[in-house]
Amino acid sequence: MKGMPLSALLGLFITLLFFSVAILAPAIAPYGMSEIVGDVWEPSSAQYWLGTDNLGRDLLTRMIYGGRTTIFVAAMATALSFTLGSILGFTAAVYGGWVDQVMSRLNDLIMSIPTLIFALVVLSVMPVTLPTLILIMGFLDSTRVFRLSRAVAVDINVMDFVEAARLRGEGRAWVIFREILPNALSPLVAELGLRFIFAILFISTLSFLGLGIQPPAADWGGIVKENREGIVYGIPAALVPAVAIVTLSISVNLVADWALNRTTSLKGGRGV
């Protein structure tokens, strides 16, 4: 934490704020999630800070609960994609040879179809539930993590201390988890932030298209979908999630930028 620039500290603070609001949602939210409290699309007032939505529910409450769902799904999908992608990536790098070839080409194949299109194809036959959404998002995003972690691991794999571990007679699992993983952690952590933001944007897009979180549950993409009709009448309720998403993603980006700079300077001036 020491020597952290102001921008990264600010980013970290706002990110933590978003996460704590998400966790404490039921305690913070002024009203119930699907409780109808007022008229349709009331302007903001002391009673309803952000106004009300298309059914007369408090928009601030919807935003808080929506953030909870969106952040939860994105975090789970990111966790899945990192576990899957990095373990497979390291495995490919450590085994090398045809194992690496098969895994990498398969990865290229999945990446050759645009993520959104692939997700839509799969969602056309799958039931749209939270676990399926997390699985699909995590799986599709793990291809990007695979590519990065394989590239990083290939570099580490030829270093002397890995060679030493092999000569000691350590198995492949040891090499992957005890030699490569600790040394590949910093670039992966920097990537984590970007993948998380991507997951937030992706789940919001799916919900907006009506293929993500299903009503009456709230989420940021769904709030846009519910209030989109209001735009034409000049009611900006649908734009509130935009503010939340931009704030969160810039904050996470600031932290990720700092993490990336820190890791590159540790390795001796790469990328400065």
Partner: protein, 318 residues
């Protein structure tokens, strides 16, 4: 054989192989459900006879590989099958929508590509000064928003508040070119913003990379103006990476179109796809998925080919 021809043929063959594998993947993607399409359409309470009838009429009683090959074969002959939801011929419904989507994507490309390259040059010219920082800040903000929200933000300000453009893009074949252009103004603006940031940043990075070469220093010492150095000396050598980035972003444009069409209720392929995903109309989804994947892979292939062809070391081997 000329080495570059060999390289191009290899790359083309690889692209075709990739396309074939992608079609398998799209087909398999719709088969992973424990039940099948007939079950999904008729619901849980369907009688066994109804299910069997539906399976027979859809050809679901045949093994998966046989269905795949017959699907691929008819798709290659331009027969995409019939939609489950309304029994219409898919190829017929798609053709008009495809023209609309291509029109929107080309308008966006025609604006964004020259603009991105010009802004990239400008950012290099005023590197680390306010124009560079301003451009970077705006592009960062536009990356941080999902496409559909960017769409609504633009719609709210340009259409509802200022009233410059229609908020819904209705388009039909009876309209003149200018009327069509006016109709797609907003969606094209949003798509431009979506791809502009990445293209501009990569252009800037590619030119900055070249700017460190010795011949740039020579040009500087000759006393040329900075913009002339960038446009005449740095730019031609950065063409390959820039063209590459342009093609990749055009491929991305095709995906961005899907969401933007829904936002602006534009009658294109993307809206057609999303509508039928929620109706669980598998043949339509497969057909659209295949078309989008083909365009995406084709664009990426073209990017590779241009990169190969624009490399003088490959064109004139020793």
């Amino acid at each position: 054989m000329h080495p570059i021809l060999k390289l191009v043929i290899q790359r083309l063959a690889l692209g075709l192989l990739l396309l074939l594998a992608a079609s398998v993947l799209i087909f398999v993607g719709t088969q992973i459900l424990p039940g099948d399409v007939a079950q999904a359409v008729l619901g849980q309470n369907a009688t066994p006879e109804a299910l069997a009838n539906m399976r027979a009429s859809l050809g679901l009683d045949q093994p998966a590989y046989a269905r795949y090959f017959s699907w691929l074969f008819s798709a290659l002959h331009g027969d995409l099958g019939h939609a489950l939801s309304n029994g219409r011929d898919i190829a017929e419904s798609i053709s008009g929508r495809m023209r609309n989507t291509l029109f929107l994507a080309s308008v966006a490309a025609a604006i964004s590509v020259p603009l991105a390259i010009f802004l990239g040059l400008l950012a290099v010219r005023y590197r680390d000064r306010w124009p560079d920082r301003l451009i970077s800040a705006i592009t960062l903000a536009s990356i941080s928003l999902p496409e559909f929200l960017l769409g609504y933000v633009v719609m709210y300000f340009l259409s509802v508040k200022l009233g410059w453009f229609p908020s819904v893009s209705n388009i039909n074949s009876g309209m003149t070119f200018w009327q069509k252009l006016n109709a797609v103004a907003l969606p094209a603006t949003v798509l431009t913003l979506v791809v502009l940031a990445h293209m501009m940043r990569m252009t800037r990075a590619a030119i900055l990379n070249v700017m460190q070469s010795a011949y740039i220093e020579t040009a500087e010492l000759k006393g040329l103006r900075r913009f002339t150095i960038i446009a005449r000396h740095a730019m031609p050598n950065a063409i390959a990476p820039i063209v590459n980035v342009v093609m990749i972003n055009l491929a991305y444009l095709v995906v961005g179109v899907v969401v933007i069409e829904v936002v602006f209720v534009y009658p294109g392929m993307g809206q057609y796809l999303v509508d039928h995903v929620s109706k669980r109309d598998v043949p339509v989804v497969q057909a659209c998925g295949l078309i989008f994947a083909t365009v995406y892979i084709g664009m990426n292939l073209l990017a590779d080919l241009i990169a190969i062809l624009s490399n003088p070391r490959l064109r004139h081997p020793k």
